[in-house]
């Protein structure tokens, strides 16, 4: 099948099988920042934003989301122009092997966009779809709290 998608703000046509999962199509088309973890909707490594909502891309048939807006972590920021959240993760040491980081950062981005000043419980709920098997969650939660402070500061200044 052939279909068009808006990926990181750009129109993109992809070839995919009719029973293919979105994580596979994205990776086959160069979006390897979307990690293929469990393929069961458990680990959150493949998380993307679909029309601004965090979802597991392994739990979605590619064919079902044609013409929708997809954001991968590279649509949020990259090495040359990192987002505050990405910087906060590095700063807090919330990254070890890094495999889960794109998913956590996507979940954090969705949370802080809706709620720039979340409580610790709200943070925990927002990352309930992500697993980290290296650092544990303390540093990740610290990174999110720090990103929240920086985003609020930036808002005041702008």
């Amino acid at each position: 099948m052939k279909g068009t998608f808006i990926i990181n703000g750009q129109s993109k046509t992809m070839d995919f099988n009719s029973d293919e999962r979105l994580v596979i199509s994205l990776r086959n088309n160069g979006y390897t920042e979307v990690k293929n973890g469990c393929l069961e909707g458990e680990c959150g490594a493949c998380m993307i934003l679909l029309d601004d909502m965090p979802v597991h891309s392994c739990q979605i048939f590619t064919a079902s989301v044609q013409n929708k807006n997809i954001t991968t972590i590279k649509g949020i920021g990259d090495l040359h122009l990192p987002h505050i959240i990405q910087e906060s993760f590095v700063e807090a040491g919330a990254v070890q092997c890094g495999f889960c980081s794109p998913g956590f950062i996507i979940a954090t981005y969705a949370l802080l966009k809706k709620n720039p000043n979340p409580t610790e419980n709200e943070i925990k709920q927002a990352i309930d779809g992500n697993l980290c098997r290296c650092t544990g969650y303390v540093k990740i939660i610290d990174a999110i709290k720090n990103a929240s402070k920086l985003i609020q500061k930036e808002r005041v200044h702008s």
Partner: protein, 270 residues
């Protein structure tokens, strides 16, 4: 690789006409369809373009289109009734990204033993709205008990009345990631320190769901101070199968204890 046809109907009529084709299935959130044996089907009817994402409230009656997700229900109900049993049942169901995909329609049609929505809909006496071979409003219990109602029919929505009864929901999980081994929902009508009425449902049992009539009868017209919570535990007699999420014997023991605890917390406002 399976060669599936994808249909994108724009109207309910188009969708219900398509479902009469051989071996095609409705696709809502898709979360139950991915692991299926896809070589047995010819295609999917994607429901996302249908006008079924709506939410209506008229006086005390609430109606949700079947394409609303768990996340939509939680945020919409929170605005109108923060004590609602549906909200309590769904707010920690699965996880955040899955709650953004799992729909009402798919969850009612699939109704797995681990469903977090079914118990709440039963105690709310919800009606299921159907179009296609079966048309009209059907009580949820009737819908669950009569598989023929699903045949060539599209769940278009749910409807229920808001209630001021007190309620609680308990999901039995070992880790946050688990699907519940069982889910208890209870609604109690309390006036002047007396339980006037109650509705108690346990899902995940051998029968998929059980009404706990013995406990409902025990509570009826009983003063709060006269409730013996250890008695409640003894009155719960439901059976569990499969060991996927928990040992059935353990669940059987635990379910009564958790029901007693939940009712205690509720009546004592803990």
């Amino acid at each position: 690789m399976n060669n599936l046809n994808w249909y994108f109907p724009k109207t309910i009529k188009e969708a219900t006409d398509l479902i009469t084709k051989e071996k095609v299935l409705f696709h809502a959130g898709g979360t139950a369809l991915l692991p299926r044996n896809l070589d047995k089907i010819n295609g999917f009817i994607n429901l996302s373009d249908l006008p079924l994402h709506y939410f209506k409230k008229e006086n005390d009656t609430v109606e949700f289109g079947s394409m609303n997700t768990y996340a939509n229900i939680v945020s919409k109900i929170y605005e109108i009734d923060s004590e609602n049993i549906l909200l309590k049942s769904l707010q920690t169901s699965a996880d955040t990204p899955l709650r953004n995909r799992i729909t009402i329609g798919g969850s009612i049609a699939f109704a797995p033993p681990w469903s977090d929505i079914i118990g709440a809909l039963i105690v709310l006496d919800a009606k299921i709205l159907l179009s296609g071979e079966n048309n009209g409003d059907f009580p949820i219990e009737k819908f669950l008990q009569n598989p023929k109602l699903k045949q060539n029919s599209l769940v278009t929505g749910i409807k229920f009345n808001l209630s001021n009864w007190k309620s609680f929901s308990y999901r039995n999980i070992r880790t946050k990631k688990d699907m519940p081994a069982f889910h208890i929902v209870a609604m109690l009508k309390i006036e002047n320190e007396i339980i006037q009425d109650s509705k108690i449902i346990i899902t995940g049992t051998v029968n998929r769901f059980d009404k706990i009539i013995e406990v409902e009868n025990y509570l009826k017209n009983r003063k709060i101070d006269d409730i013996e919570f250890s008695q409640i535990e003894k009155l719960v007699d439901v059976k569990f199968t499969g060991k996927r999420f928990s040992d059935p014997e353990y669940s059987q023991k635990l379910v009564g204890i958790e029901l007693g605890r939940g009712i205690k917390k509720l009546v004592r406002n803990l």
